[in-house]
Structure formats: C-alpha cells, structure tokens
Symmetry: C3
Amino acid sequence: MPFVTFLDYAGVAVFAATGALAASRKELDIIGFLFLASVTGIGGGTFRDLILGIPVFWVINRDYVWICASVAVLVFLTAHRFESRYKLLLWLDAVGISAFSVMGAAKGLVVTGSVSVAIITGMLTATFGGILRDLLAGEPSVLLRPEIYVTATLIGAAVYTGADIAGLAPLLASILGFVAAFIVRGGALRFGWTFPAYKGRPGRHPDDIP
Amino acid sequence: MPFVTFLDYAGVAVFAATGALAASRKELDIIGFLFLASVTGIGGGTFRDLILGIPVFWVINRDYVWICASVAVLVFLTAHRFESRYKLLLWLDAVGISAFSVMGAAKGLVVTGSVSVAIITGMLTATFGGILRDLLAGEPSVLLRPEIYVTATLIGAAVYTGADIAGLAPLLASILGFVAAFIVRGGALRFGWTFPAYKGRPGRHPDDIP
Amino acid sequence: MPFVTFLDYAGVAVFAATGALAASRKELDIIGFLFLASVTGIGGGTFRDLILGIPVFWVINRDYVWICASVAVLVFLTAHRFESRYKLLLWLDAVGISAFSVMGAAKGLVVTGSVSVAIITGMLTATFGGILRDLLAGEPSVLLRPEIYVTATLIGAAVYTGADIAGLAPLLASILGFVAAFIVRGGALRFGWTFPAYKGRPGRHPDDIP
C-alpha cells in the first residue's frame, strides 16, 4: 500500500474517532456515534472530490465506510475509559489534519497540476471534516480556538507539494508533509503556540452596535 | 406516477413545510419562508445527487422549485392556526425522512449498484435537509434530540434496499421502507423511544478542561 | 473585461473582505483571516458551480484565490482603523450580494437556459458565502436579521434575467440587476426596510413545549 493511501485510511479512521468522541460527549446513542463518525471521517474527502470534479472516494471504495463504522463501535465501547475525551479528540484531530493535508494536496496536484489548488485542497480536506463535526455536534469550532490550527494544514500541504515538485519520492514527500503539519499542530496543543493575533479589539455583539 | 416518484414529491413538500414552519417560529418575512422552505425541501436531494455525480434533480425538473414555493406561501398564510408549530414540524419531518430514506436509497442503488452506498445515500438524503434547516434557522439540531432519529432513516433505507435486492416489486419495497421508517420515528416521537444511550458522562465545556 | 466578469472579481473581493472583517471581530491570526476570507469569497460560486455541474471556477482560474489572499492581508493591516467593522461588513456584504446575484443568475442562465434555475442560482451564489462566513465565525446569521436581505438577491437575479431575456445588452442587464439589488439591500440597511413580517408569535424553545 503506498504511504499516501495509508495516510488516507489513517486520516479517515482518526477523524471518525474524533466524531465518535464528540458523540460520546453529547451522550448520543450508537447510531449517533455511527453518523458523526462517518460525517467527520469522510466529510473532508467528499468535499475535496466534489471540488475537483472527480467521483467521491467512498462511493467507489466502500472500505472507508466500514472503517468509520468499526471505529464508531470501538469508541462507543471504550470512550468511558479516557480521562479527558476532549483532549483525546484534539490530539486525534491533530493526526487527522496532518494526514489529510498531505492526502488532499496529493489528490489536488494529481488532478489539476496546480500548486495553489493543491495547497487549498489540502487545507480544505484537512479542515472540513472537523468543521462539520463541530457544527453537527454543537461544539465550539476548532477553527476559532486560539492556538494555531489552519496554519498546520497550510504547512503540511505546502511542504508536501513543494517536496513533490522538487522531485522527492512520494513516500518521502508524504512523510515530510505529515511530520511538518503534526509538529506545528502538536506544538500548538502542547505549548499553546499562537500567532501574533490581530492587534485589535473583539467584535461587539450586533445588538450593541448603534 | 411510480410510487417512488410520488415519495420524492411528497418528501420535498413536507420538508419544505418544515422549513416554512421554522421560518414562522423565527418570524421571518415571506421571502424568508420561501428561502428556508426551498433549502430544506431540496437540500437533501441536492447533496445526494452531488455525491452520486449525477445532475441535480431540481435543475432538470423545476416542478420541485414550484412545490417548495407553493408550500411556503401556504404555510405563511396558515401557520398561525396551529397550536404548536414545533410539534407539527417534527411530525412532518418524520414523514419527510421516511420518504427520503427510501428515495435516496433507490437512487443510490440505481446509480452505484452498491447496497452500502444505497443505505448511506438514503440516510444522507433524509437527514441533510433538516440539518440545513436547523443550522440556518438557529434551531437546536434534530440530530441531537434524545429520541431515535437517524436510526429511522437507516431502517427505512435498509428495508427498501433489502426488499429490492430480494426481488420485491419497487412499489412494495418502497411502501415497506417508508412504513418501517415512519413506525420507528413516529414511535420515537409518540412514546419517546430512545436507544440505550452511551453509558458515560456529558462532555465538559472546553474552557473547563484543565 | 466584460462587466459580468468584473462583477465576479469585485464580488469575490468584497465578500473576502467581509470574511476578513469577521476574522478581525473574532481576533483570529493572519491564517484565520486568509481562511475566512477565502471561504466567504469563493464559497457561493463554488456551490453554484457544483449545482450546475460545471468545473469549479477557482480551480480553473487561480486569480480568485490570490484576490482573497490579498484582501485578507489588506484587512489584517487596516481593520483597526474602522470605527465599526460590523457596519462595514454589512455594507460590503450588500455590494457582494448585489454582484453575485447577477453573476450567479448569468451563469445559471447560460448553463441551463432556465429562468427559474437562473434566479435560484443567483440567490444561492449571493447568499451562500455569507451563510458560511457566519456559521464558521459563530456570528448571528445575516439571513435571520430583520431587514430585507434574501429579497434583494431575488430582485437582482430576476431583474438581470428578465432584462437578458428581453434582449438587453449583457452590460446593461448586469448594471440594472446590480443596481436593483443594491438599492433594495442598501435601503434596508439605511432605512431599516422590512417586509410585513409573519403575523404570528415567536417560536418557543423546544424544551418549553409540553
């Protein structure tokens, strides 16, 4: 199995696990686990394939659906063992965005040949599943958290794309992209890395604006 | 008109009505009614067609758009007569998800020939319109309600698909799927049926996690 | 450059600016600005192209991506100068929906030849970017604001489509559509125009319904 395919399976599995953990935080039933795990696991890749105009990956290869279902059942049976499901969710999400930023960029580059499109499909693939998960589960969006998040997907996609353009072997380019993204997001989670935020003031609530 | 086509029209109409009822709960104007009715009525099927890679149904057949518009006007004129619009919304939604779980599975089965894809497109078609409605109207998501919901769409899609694979006539398979889904969701609404929920504890708010 | 192409670029730029302003209200970092600007700027057109079954515009022409990125950086550097970023956001949004209601209708009409589809793709293109922005930024949805909003996009799309069908030159039809939409939305913002709202009562919270 090429490493980029492995990253795809691994990304689907860990994103599915974050969806199932969100379901456990909301105390949903087993079908709620299956649903949130599937939407989170395959949501980003579905969006990527729609934008690239290619057949949706899980419609062609149903393995992905079974991965999501298996992960959902596993989390349903074990989630109570974890001390903080939300921290686990954030770390699995970090693995997932690292894998998908590479996988999304790889598919975007193969289909369009454009570096800028590849970087964007990498970012979209990596972030979209988590956005859906948080919207559907009514969680605060990971996008709005203070630590670095989207940047990690940008770096993962850019490192992979740059390495591929530079002629590195796909395996090496994939590993470099994955590791780069994970160092950035993992460091942000572990050490609270942030960018210099916008030097401003928070927005007022619309009702308070004269 | 084949029964499955009738289910499609009926599903669009009742989902459009739930969108218009949500608009009335938010006291929107007539255009808000038209917008929410249309998004809710055709949202699930649009998503299904995009994923299956086939032309979007209402772009080809504009009847669906006029159905949504007519239903929106009708609800705008009559919604004040109902004692509880939210209960009516939930019951119409139950009819809608029953119709769409069959219709989505039927289209998925015809296009891909895969049982697992058919069941998923049935579930997605049935749930997606309501998800959009609740997100846009700022209502609590039906997905997160305690009674059985997604399960009904799974059962409707699975019963239809199983019956079709087993060689039953399309009419009979459609009726069986519709009735199965409606019994599950209707029973859940009427008697508060729930699954054994996840044996756990609710998630803490992210800010409260050390 | 045909005027309708200019409207497309201008619409992407002003919507990107509203996304970046929402990012500044949430005090995100520069990558958050880039992300929200891009999603808001190209979201509506992406949805339009998916529904029409044509290649997504920014995958083919990457100028749009660079416009969004440039606007995001510009807003990041200047947003603190504005006394009320939310008012600026609303007015730029008004320009954006006016441009996109025409551009969406034009593309829908060319691809399908159907007046009703053209009007709907005009409305969807104009509203979808702002819906995404508000969902992702956790802002109250512009759709639910009391003043006229969706109606302006309906009028812009209908005026353009009617003028085009009536045989007016594309430039004139585009200007008429843009001006009609902007008068309606601008008047709503300036003078608080509303439709006669639904004569009813607000919805109760689901938990309060017996």
